[in-house]
Subunit: 287 residues, 2 copies
């Protein structure tokens, strides 16, 4: 596996790969790889000749009071894991190479970012779309792979790609979970054992909602109430949001009709975790 | 010359041209070609194997009270002129293909847009950078050619390209002028004969400033006062701005030192015209 640090060198390498007829896949990450990341890389390998993984803890997508400085990092371990999965190229840029002194440009998706995580993290998605736009221009991938755990991020990036006519196909990959159901996340490493146990309420509350829908309950208010009660019955939890929304526009819905996204963000101790699932009235009615 | 209307078809054609090893140049325009546009195309031809001209009156760069609906158009004449100059491909997209229903993404250069034209046209440059980002993603040019008459636009687009790591080289082309000095502009067609005569004050005021600098006057306030007086002594004129600024940051300067941009926007009757020149204290001191 080749490791490239310089933006200019990466761009030249990608241009040459494209010109040689290779199909490129990008997996953009902030590193500290877990099985969820590795699954993204495996999916990428199925879709392309060359898999590039970017590892960059992007400062602009963290709020001023968020965990940029404590965000877990393990570059050596990451490179080992990526190589092991068969990644061809790791791009590991420096912050000052990505954001030089005069940097002042933002790519912003206007509407889909004004819901869910966008409310409690107002500049987060601008940071995400801007850095993803940069990575796409540097790495020139044919496809890019994102996890569905960050469902809103997947929607927002897809929206940006369509709106700006980026010639990149976005592939979403289902959330990878620990054996007990907790969605994999680099931030899980912040949880102490009691919080780790309590964090299971996220997945359990999604299951509860799915069961309620299967039994014919489609009212958003009732589903959300059930989910919130289950989460708050677990210790150390504080709810940021529990929402039922349209999975394209991210706008809240009153009822589950067709495909609906149930998305939640919960603080367990000091650690903010997110999870989600798609609910479908139609599909479950047929069962 | 081939003419392509569909975004998807243009993108595929460009990808194929790139893969075949051709160097592509883009001249983005709003049509109604004059000699200034044709000069951009000629410069593009010198830099590339294939010249693509886009003709698109971009609605998002016009303010609500501006001249979108009356902006002059002549597609047939434009295609004839472009073909005559040796353009290979004209891209003429429809508004709904560029901005479909759910469109909601903006590319925004934050600082360089807050001066000069950005003050009286607050959303203008966001419209420009967004549409140029789209055109770059669709047409995938190696170089793109812009006129220096729209100096701030050239600066803002260059900033966007650098900040977002777009793999496009921006080439600026000196302003083409009518024999009497008026900078060529599609909007000149709005001027009646008396206004057309009065509009010569723009170029004359730039010449005045150049002469003052040559004689050792470097104070911005004095230079600006002289320029304003000359413009206002011409009939039908109303000044939007006359500024001396840094040609990279667009920030106002107090004195001409090194290269300084003198930029002005003036209404002549109802028509808003812009013009500019670079002043240099060092260079002229040596003379």
């Amino acid at each position: 596996m080749e490791v490239i640090g310089l933006v200019e060198k990466m761009q030249q390498a990608s241009e040459n790969l494209r010109l040689s007829g290779k199909a490129l896949a990008l997996v953009p990450t902030m590193g500290f790889f877990h099985e969820g990341h590795l699954e993204l890389m495996r999916v990428a390998k199925k879709h392309a000749d060359i898999v590039v993984v970017s590892i960059f803890v992007n400062p602009t997508q963290f709020g001023p009071k968020e965990d940029l400085n404590t965000y877990p990092r393990d570059l050596e371990g990451d490179l080992f894991k990526a190589e092991n999965v068969g990644v061809d190229l790791a791009f590991v840029p420096a912050v000052h190479d990505m954001y030089p002194d005069r940097f002042q440009t933002t790519v912003s998706v206007q509407k889909a970012t004004k819901h869910l995580c966008g409310l409690s993290r107002p500049a987060h998605f601008d940071g995400v779309t801007t850095v993803v736009a940069k990575l796409f221009n540097i790495i020139k991938p044919h496809i890019a792979v994102f996890g569905q755990k960050d469902f809103q991020q997947l929607v927002v990036v897809t929206r940006m790609v369509q709106d700006l006519n980026m010639d990149v196909r976005i592939v979403g990959v289902p959330t990878v979970r620990e054996p007990d159901g907790l969605a994999m996340s680099s931030r899980n490493s912040f949880l102490n054992p009691l919080e780790r146990e309590s964090a299971l309420c996220l997945k359990k509350s999604l299951d509860l909602a799915r069961n309620l829908v299967a039994r014919g309950e489609f009212q958003a208010s009732i589903l959300i109430k059930g989910v919130k009660e289950m989460i708050l019955s677990s210790p150390f939890t504080e709810i940021d949001y529990v929402n039922l929304c349209d999975p394209v526009s991210m706008e809240n819905v009153q009822k589950v009709e067709g495909e609906t996204l149930l998305a939640l963000a919960v603080r367990v101790g000091k650690t903010r975790l997110i999870d989600n699932c798609l609910l479908s009235a139609k599909l479950l009615r047929r069962i």
